[in-house]
Amino acid sequence: MQTLDRTKEPEVKPFPDINIQEAEHITLANGLPVHIINSGTQDVLKVEFLFQAGALKQPARLVAAMTIEAIGEGTEKLSAKEISEKLDFYGASLKKDSSRDTPALVLYTLGKHLDKTLPVVKDMFLNASYPENELKTYRENSKQRLISNEKKVSTLASKLIYEMLYGKDHPFGYRVIPEDFDNVTREQLINYHRAHYMNIDCNVIISGKVTDEVMNIVRQEFENIPAKISAFDNTTPPPQPVKEKKKVVEVQDVVQSAIKLARPLFSKKHPDYIPLQVLNTVFGGYFGSRLMNNIREDKGYTYGIGSGLIALGTTGIWSIGSEVGVEVTQATLKEIYLEMKRLREEPVAQEELDTVKSYMLGAFLKDVDGPFAIAEKYISLLKYGLDYSYYQRWIKTVKSITPAEIQALANKYLVEEDFYELVVGKMG
């Protein structure tokens, strides 16, 4: 028998073509747009209702988020308890996504129970009543949760960095404070619900085993509601960043500081957005990134450090975050800036860039494993007014980008002076 040479790596085969299953689109008689990903063998469904009713449209702080968060607190027909009982009995769950740009209501259900669970969701759209007694409990518990969460340095830092970049009065910049929960009135919620949810001004994305029977139920429930579908618009007012770019929020008795660095960027439509995702991956976007290699794997300053691009309406940011021992807070900041400088001054080695490319393409393949994941890929297009050509451009760019292009991008965007720097904890 031939001995096995374990030092020799098995041949890596060329990447398979990535075929992403595209959504099928139909419009119900009332104009409601429905997008379908029919895939998978399990009798499961994810029905996502994606609204254009985020903070950009709200009349006062927190109204948009609270309208969706409290939509299940009761309707004219059912109490909060009855709503929960109906969904729980059929093993269904409801997720409310109160993200600032595109809030969504998501129903997870077995296909065989859709006829029982979908009407509950419809009832929330048509008849949510925001009963005062339920709102009282909701307000108190939400305040407590907010105060608890902000005792974590990392949570507090994530919120404050948006305030620094967008300004404290901007829909994407204001930090929710406990009093906000008291200040939003029932009337504001009812009016906001009436303006956006009652006429089901949304896109519906259904994924899983979408049979004819499933579509019949969807039609039966939603086709006869008078819908008012508005054109896509996520125009974001210009950010009003703070003047002082460096900020330290001292917290007593902590053993770690949260570090956040971020710079303003642009939306996914900008031609540099995709190439920047490659630069970001090299810099801090995966386990083998420069930041991880230096600050975790070489210095052992942290359990983890990472960076990422975040799209918000027609704007975006590039952000870096970590929690590090207080005694190495300064040293970590120094190393982060050093890694920026290295990417500006030295071209990334072809070998390292190739690793990043393979990693990114592999991660993309994993991202389209299963019907819900495939639907998620479509939703992230829909949220920003993009179409599938975005992913073709993405694959092409990842495959073709060169070290010289990466370096040019670093010189344009990975510039120390453009970043806002926040430490929550101690400077050490």
Partner: protein
């Protein structure tokens, strides 16, 4: 339903393969039958620290992550009381890269000093991030030694204290590897767009030559039955009081486990559950409250954890929990309520089989628990739970004398 084939190599490695042609990827899961419970009481946190060292290069391959990423792969690992589990996904045509990497680190590690020095620090920062630097983060560090007196579950996976991690030596690392990282102490599962016979050939090729070891006998001290109520008061700079109650129950393999799982769901699954409806919504004693099982192999815990509402006395909040627990112990639940929990269980099982990564882990885990085929018997086991067994086990196990309570008070600084 997950269809699979199982083979045992001559060195004792169990190999489980599930074909799923609907995906372009393959997932590989290697479960080692070693966890924090196998540690020396003076060297705790070691199984987890060791997991970090498994990424520090193996005998023939200096760097684990880079070749995997080059092949389009991703990986991670976790350690708990019972197991250390490593998993990766790859485009299916590059599966062999996974076999090459995983078999080499099962064969032997590089045992690099630099890796040990750095990972000690990384794990200490993990200890600080998760347990020390967030409100209520140290709950388990206090609750477990209250609930357990002799069984190794009395310490946490991260370790009893930071000094145990600081003091870990290279000799400790080598001894731990020699004892636990053997093919006969591991289960390999592969799920995805693969062919069973090809995977078996790869398993023979890469893992077959690794020598097996002696069968490991696990002789852990059994936790004696608790006979009286245990209470501990603690305080820290947290915004609200909190209560944690833990009752001893059976282990994961016991038939009663399914009934306890139903009990914890009756208490807190969904917003129509008893604790939420009774104590959050109606009595407003808690701002949030949850019940869950620790899910350990050896006899584990049923835990109720609640954050007390502002202005409510902690003892009054506790009596609310007592009332709900006593209802379960003194009267049978109605069939419809039990049916709700069973329907929920059915849905969760289906949803947990949506990714090849999840399927590979489930197969390896149930094989460790006795038989991979049990992955397909979970639904019927939940269906078999009756309103009578729920009452019987609640009565038997949810007694005050079997309970440890941690009162977590605010200390405003």
């Amino acid at each position: 339903m997950i269809l699979f084939e199982k083979h045992i190599l001559s060195n004792g490695l169990r190999v489980i393969i599930h074909e799923d042609r609907s995906t372009p990827i393959a997932a590989m899961n290697i479960l080692y039958d070693v966890g924090a419970r196998d540690e020396d009481p003076d060297k705790t946190g070691f199984a987890h620290l060791f997991e970090h060292l498994m990424f520090g290069g193996s005998v023939n391959i200096p760097n684990y992550d880079e070749p995997l990423q080059n092949a389009g792969g991703e990986n991670n690992a976790f350690t708990n009381n019972d197991i250390t589990n490593y998993y990766l996904t790859l485009p299916a045509q590059n599966l062999e890269t996974g076999f090459w990497l995983e078999s080499d680190r099962m064969l032997s590690l590089a045992f690099s000093k630099k890796s040990l020095d750095v990972q000690r620090n990384v794990v200490i920062e993990e200890f600080r991030q998760r347990y020390l630097n967030q409100p209520y983060g140290d709950v388990w560090l206090k609750l477990k030694p209250l609930a357990y007196k002799v069984h190794p579950y009395l310490w946490n996976t991260i370790g009893k204290e930071i000094s145990h991690i600081e003091n870990a030596t290279m000799d400790d690392v080598k001894a731990f590897f020699a004892k636990h990282y053997k093919p006969n102490n591991a289960i390999l599962s592969v799920a995805g767009n693969v062919k069973t016979d090809e995977v078996l050939k790869l398993a023979e090729k890469w893992f077959g030559p690794i020598p097996g070891g002696e069968k490991k006998e696990r002789k852990l001290p059994a936790e004696p039955p608790q006979t009286e109520e245990r209470k501990l008061e603690t305080s820290a700079d947290v915004p609200y009081d909190a209560i944690y109650k833990a009752w001893h129950i059976c282990g994961r393999k016991d038939a009663d486990y399914y009934t306890f799982d139903v009990i914890s769901d009756l208490l807190s699954r969904g917003r129509s559950s008893r604790l939420y409806e009774g104590l959050v919504k109606n009595k407003k004693l808690f701002s949030e409250i949850n019940a869950y099982l620790s899910g350990d192999d050896d006899p584990g815990l049923l835990v109720i954890a609640g954050k007390v509402s502002e202005g409510v006395d902690i003892k009054k909040a506790e009596s609310g929990i007592a009332e709900e627990v006593n209802k379960l112990r003194s009267s049978v639940v109605n069939e419809k309520e039990l049916q709700k929990i069973k329907n929920n269980m059915e849905a969760s099982l289906v949803f947990s089989e949506m990714s090849v990564e999840g399927k590979a882990l489930n197969l390896a885990f149930f094989e460790l628990m006795g038989d991979a085929e049990d992955v397909n018997r979970e639904a019927e086991k939940y269906q078999a739970v009756s309103i009578e067994t729920v009452k019987d086990l609640a009565e038997k196990n949810l007694a005050d004398t079997n309970c440890s309570t941690l009162y977590y008070h605010t200390k405003k600084t």
